[in-house]
Subunit: 133 residues, 2 copies
């Protein structure tokens, strides 16, 4: 029952960008140094965030990254789901690839898991990046 470092670090990176959200591009190595993450690993994380449209990047000498939107427009749940995939705590509630567990009809634990799924997602969707800074 763990959020991987991908999700945790992504949140750190996004809060770092939000705290330096003055329109300038911020170099990856500065973010990595402040958040104590390996530069090369930070690259991978920012790459995913960029493809999701959450950050804008600029190459070259004074390049770097910056937020694409205002901090209040980022829902934390969206960021985590982007990095982690579905936050569903068990596969049988998730409808992954359109397949559901064949026992789900008769399984008395399924509704319990669906409920857990719900409280997790409601929680992470109740915060924006603005709330964290």
């Amino acid at each position: 029952m763990k959020i991987s470092t991908k999700g945790r670090y992504a949140l750190k990176v996004m809060t770092d960008l939000a705290l330096h959200n003055d329109g300038e591009y911020i170099a990856l190595k500065d973010i990595a140094a402040r958040q104590n993450i390996a530069v090369k690993y930070t690259e991978q994380i920012v790459s995913v965030l960029g493809k999701a449209g959450y950050v804008e990047s600029m190459r070259g000498v004074s390049g770097g990254h910056r937020l694409a939107k205002a901090p209040s427009e980022y829902v934390i749940g969206d960021i985590l789901r982007t990095m982690e995939g579905q936050l569903a705590p068990v596969g049988c509630t998730a409808d992954i690839k359109g397949t559901t567990c064949p026992m789900s009809e008769s399984c008395s634990t399924v509704s319990f898991w669906r409920g857990l799924d719900k409280v997790i997602n409601e929680y992470v969707d109740s915060f924006t990046l603005q709330d964290l800074i």
Copy 2:
């Protein structure tokens, strides 16, 4: 963000025992067959449940397992924590081996994670085995 099969199967095993809670010992292979889990894997799970005092076992020909208490006395959160360890979604809130993350003071995401930890544990602690059957 997943509950492992250990936790999921443990809940299945416990509900199976709760549904056949007539004081008789129930053979592992019957549980395994009904719940569609490999017998040998079920052994490992029941072993942990037994060491935690959740099930009573009897060896020999007409042996098996049964609940040690009434279904309403089992808190689901306890069962899951027994199988999975702490349910804390990120390590930095967990105090594992007495070590906390050195950045936790300055990390603005920590309180967010603590909150997630809280809603998860409150949810799983709000159900008993009786509620699932």
